[in-house]
Amino acid sequence: MNTSCAIEMRGITKRFGQVVANDSIDLSIKRGEILSLLGENGSGKTTLMNMLAGIYQPDEGEILQDGLPIAIRSPKDAYDHGIGMIHQHYKLVDVFTAAQNIVLGLNDQKLDLKSINAKVKAICDKYSFVIDPAMKIYDMSVSQKQTVEIVKVLYRGADILILDEPTAVLTPQETDKLFAVLHNMKADGKAVIIITHKLNEVMEISDEVAVLRKGKYIGTVKTSETDPQALTDMMVGHAVVLNIDRPKFEKPVPRLKVQGLTCIDHEGITKLDGVSFTANGGEILGVAGIAGSGQKELLESISGLYPVKEGSVSFIGGDGKAKELVGMTPMQIRKTGVGMAFVPEDRLGMGLVGSMGMTGNMMLRSWRKGKGIFLNKKSPEDLAKKIWDELEVVTPSTSFPVRRMSGGNVQKVLVGREIASQPKILMTAYPVRGLDINTSYTIYNLLTEQKMNGVAVLFVGEDLDVLLELCDRILVLCGGKVSGIVDARSATKEEIGFMMTTLGGKENA
């Protein structure tokens, strides 16, 4: 056994119900080394690391420390083994000071601020941090909070540090500072694992790169012996032929024109930055990007659910006249006669009411139509029956709560309802996530059918194989900006993968 491995994971498998999040993964990290854990969202990176941090328990496999098997049953066990994880969502108590957060849960010490401050200062000096121990967390910037998290972990004597997407919320300057600190830690003989999907950072900081894809371990390579292109290939995999039927619509016409769309969230972070594109009727426009690159904000701002800072979204009607949609509520948009349908990512949260049956959920779209104060149940009931029939939804009745249906059937109900409103623009976010192959194809066919009816379809997806075979054009987002728009018939998976991780890839459309 190679004892220079600080931590070794062997054959780790973790399931959540039916979903296999980690499938027999092997990973090892040495002291004095920085390992990047690379993979797309949903590839199981965080799940794997949470098992080291004691948040989850592996279903199969073993974890070895310095060659000896260990059990990590709780976060406390992890600390006892010198493993500290800095989670993506910081685990800090807002109303406490930095010092209070740092010593939280340490039973062997008195609450003596002086000695705590001295020890904190020693750690800060060693790795060149700056924090004020008496500052409250709610007064801190994200980067300061992160520093507190790192100091907290070091204070507990961790020599194996896991950082989950530490740079996602940092400015470039802050990122440089963080990397300098990580280098200091490495020089100090600590083992550092950094979860990321930013290739430039991987190349800059790490000694080795381990790649995960769809819960499977792909391999580990030395950073010095690889390049971004090779890593992208490992991350996205080879193209798989899906044989999705893709007819060409003869005369696509511009339907939706988005110009310079910029959105800023409530924390002041720019989610969309000058996004411009045109979606044509009779075309499926795919939207690709690492999760959190602005896909959700894009769809929601088009449909009037997300506040727009700048830019315009205009709907181009059959008569060629443009209608500005920015500033309208979803209800106003509907009233102006712009047929827009939205299949959200969160099906049972935003799309359907879980405890209602199919009929009730159909009514969410039509409840205003009844006479007087009474609901008109007849037409939604008919619609529910129609969808039940045509899309082969498996359910005992139209009043059976949709929450208790399988994911695929839930999605059929949702897509069926949205299509039934005869939209001019159909927006879908991850419509086949979690669905089996057959249902996925049903959804693809439904979308293609809509396209052939002249509808402008926006398809936000995560599986590049699907995007390449289903869509006509693909818009690639990278950090809220348009990295490029490519023709899906000629683009390659590697090309898109590269555009997702590096702004611009090749050219800006």
């Binding site: 948040i55 406390k76 989670h87 685990k91 800090l92 807002d94 939280l104 609450l111």
Partner: protein, 328 residues
Amino acid sequence: MSAIIALIVAAVTFGTVLMFGTLGEILTEKSGNLNLGVEGIMYMGGAFGLAGAFNYEQAVGAASSSGLLAILIAIISAFAAGAIASLVYGFITITLRANQNVTGLALTIFGTGVGQFTGEFLRVREGNFVALSNHLKDSFANPIMPKFLQDIPILGKILFSHSVFFYIAVILAIAMHLFFVKTKKGMYLRAVGESPSTADAAGINITLYKYLATIIGGGISAIGGMVYIVTTAGCVWNHAGLSGVGWLAVALVIFCLWRPLNAIWGSVLFGALMIMYLRVRIPFIPTEIYKILPYVVTVIVLVFSSMRNNKEKQPPASLGANYFREER
């Protein structure tokens, strides 16, 4: 002048009841558990506290009963009743992770029923009248401070003419304040209520803290019910007077911004608002208007504290949410 002093003294008497209810609920809520069963818990505390004192006197005889022992037994009986009820609440919400609001409301319904049943059962069993000897009644309700302190003009009445329970409540409030801000355990408890995942990751036993805070908090709240019965109600089961007190305590927790020290003056203020209708009569104003004053004040405080958005004056961040480590 004497009318004002009398109002303050009466306010303190009723405020003591509220103070126990509020302090218990503050402790519970600091762990992130919103126990809406305070009303039921205080009913149970009232009935069982009275039953404890009564049975004690029956057992040893009125002549040889000790006031101090009776007070202790009443406190322990009430505390135990509240603690057991809260243990049930804790099991359902902490271990089984059921909805806290629903469970708390169910506990209120259950507790008022149990309290009412016990109180009535006692009355019927003893032939329509549960009576403690005057000697015990006095030791519950009479001032305990030395005579010379009570004789200080004005201040003597306001500060030193109260029953033993008021001073216990004040000491408890100060102790709880020191526990929260000065001790490690208190800090950990606050961490559990603010961010359980943080506390968990720091190796704090969330379940233990939540259970202890809920059980002890429930016990303290229950003492409030007992105090009402043995002081204001004159050692007679009086469900009508106790009704609504638990809800007032829940409102008071918000009014106090989850701070035990605020509970001292907050309780007395609420006590005053609640008895105003007896002492400050203004013609043509129905008593119901007076009775809503405490709630109106709570709403105003809530509006202002929300508007100012001061991070220090907010409820525990995870109040009402159950914690499950593997939740995704």
